[in-house]
Symmetry: C2
Subunit: 358 residues, 2 copies
């Protein structure tokens, strides 16, 4: 993310409000009703504002393609197919994932407000942008948010294996503080994300050892040969275990795709993906005085910051701290867009017959 | 664990029932009421049966020391200090952790049976053995169990730092299958556990790179110098993030120790540890037909197994598979005990004036 942010510093900026308007226009032109288009646009622009550059407007053209091919349903009936006091299963009716996950998160928070905890799973959902969008919704309501999802492409074999049967299945957790930003972890269970490998390939730079191995189990450092190898999970067998468990929690439990039936929508934009996600909201008030708890989280923040550092390290960082800095900067000055990205969006505007991004 | 199991193969065995009797005798002699002593003994022996050799009878002498010094309360009033339909906070009154966690897990399952999900946190608890004991209780009731806890010793600095402010804070998840064993992940958020480092030191073997670094950030491979360095988290900053979040969920949220106030009971057996744990039970029936779900988990098992393997790898393993093999073997043939371990237990029996392990 640091690399992206540095490269981005010199690029022309687009204001968040302008970005939201453009995304909403594009989605509407593709057939999404105005209210839904604005809801999705706001979340996609928030992804860009938070530095999740590969999860925001970057995905717009792909989403439009899916809508136009019929793989994504522009007029879905998102509904609860089963629920108990603390849980629900939401059928996304193949809507844009943001709509499904927004609904699921709101429902989980409502249940947590009543019973202390809410766990909502989704099936027949789609790519919903960065996980932290949803855990942060819970944190903003004095709750802890936890999110699991089945990633959209299988790039990881089971540990010791050579068939890519697992995705980078991410986990996200957000916990609110008082004076300090939300502590927000949003991580893939692999050492790197595929986007970073593409970036290395573009720049003709080798990958560090530990990112990928080839089919012989040897380190793969040439990013141009990425298709011949596999991502490595964090901590070896442990990261594989986490990716597998997350797949069971967000996929299998919800009746969503996991394993060989995962559809990579960036390659196949015609087949519905049956994506699965799970969101968990825990009401802090069910365990502690909210004000006191948030001050204790501040204290944890400060204790971690107070650690002396290794040679060459300026300071210890908390999860979500860097993303928060980017967010504040971009909310004030706009989101940087490369010439290449702008060109893609101009072409999209042209195809859709809408006003381009100003 | 494989190493331990191999070394163990040639050692004399003790039957599980005999081990339970001995542990219960020792705890009773230390002042634990008979019913509680048997409950804890059964869980400790299960830890040994499952191959968690550093979490079973190995800890008995330490627990007895804590009880005798007053750091652990032999006649606790474990009580619910707050609850909602889906959540509860349990005050362990400084009981042996097994008693607190058994109560917490049963409560979480009861809540899950009612509302689909139950989340129970503990404070003023103590070391409770391996996490999988509790997640497997949920799996045995057709539920998914998820467990977080604050480890008992700070061995990990925040990423980039040099002050050990975090423990190996583990996460465990168990999901039941039908024909196949429970898929059970039970992992520390560090690349290795401290017990393995002690083993390397005993054997005069170097540690592989990646286990520890020294205060300069350089790889530390001499296990005799372990006290000069730090454990490394899985996936670098990611594992640090996970350990931190788990600390917030199992410590801070519950009003339990986390950060500088963590007490390592293996060093300080006099100060109550205020240990914190969180257990989450999700009722599968709230999301799916239980039979169908468990068959789908079988399918996931088989799909992972079907992956071709890297050179030198016999077969892909599922989380918990190895532990299940050990469990079956040890339930049939008993738990191996080294001469050294047996000597420690004989001395303990002598001090307590009880019948030794037969």
């Amino acid at each position: 993310m640091t690399e992206t942010a540095n490269t981005a510093a010199s690029q022309p900026r687009v204001e968040i409000a302008t970005l939201i308007e453009f995304i909403a226009r594009a989605l509407e032109a593709a057939g999404i009703p105005p209210g839904d288009a604005r809801r999705v646009a706001a979340l996609m622009a928030e992804a860009d504002a938070r530095g999740g550059d590969a999860h925001g407007v970057f995905r717009l053209a792909q989403y439009v393609k899916q809508i136009q091919s019929g793989a994504v349903n522009p007029r879905p009936n998102i509904r609860i197919v089963g629920q108990k006091a603390g849980t629900a299963l939401v059928d996304g009716d193949n809507a844009l994932g943001h709509l499904v996950m927004k609904r699921a998160t709101e429902l989980a928070m409502e249940k947590a407000r009543q019973g202390g905890v809410g766990w909502v799973g989704t099936r027949r959902s789609n790519h919903a942008g960065p996980a932290q969008l949803y855990t942060r919704m819970a944190a903003a309501q004095n709750m802890i948010g936890i999110y699991f999802c089945v990633g959209n492409a299988n790039l990881l074999p089971p540990w010791g294996g050579t068939e890519a049967l697992l995705s980078t299945n991410p986990i996200a957790i957000a916990v609110p503080a008082s004076r300090h930003p939300v502590i927000s972890l949003d991580m893939a269970t692999t050492n790197t994300a595929f986007g970073k490998i593409r970036l290395k390939a573009q720049r003709n730079e080798p990958m560090p050892e530990g990112w990928m191995i080839d089919k012989e189990g040897k380190p793969l450092t040439d990013p141009k040969r990425a298709s011949e190898g596999f991502l490595l999970p964090i901590g070896g067998a442990k990261g594989y275990g986490l990716a597998l468990m997350i797949g069971l929690l967000a996929g299998t439990l919800n009746g969503a795709a996991f394993g060989r039936d995962v559809v990579d929508y960036t390659v196949d934009s015609k087949t519905p993906s049956n994506a699965g996600q799970s969101i968990l909201a825990v009401d802090i008030a069910a365990f502690a005085d909210v004000k006191t708890f948030k001050e204790q989280v501040d204290e944890v923040w400060e204790v971690m910051k107070s650690s002396p550092t290794l040679p060459g390290v300026d300071e210890v960082r908390l999860p979500g701290e860097h993303s928060e800095q980017i967010y504040r900067e971009r909310m004030a000055h706009g989101v940087p867009l490369s010439d290449g990205q702008r060109k893609v969006l101009d072409e999209l505007a042209d195809r859709l017959g809408i006003l381009p991004l100003q």
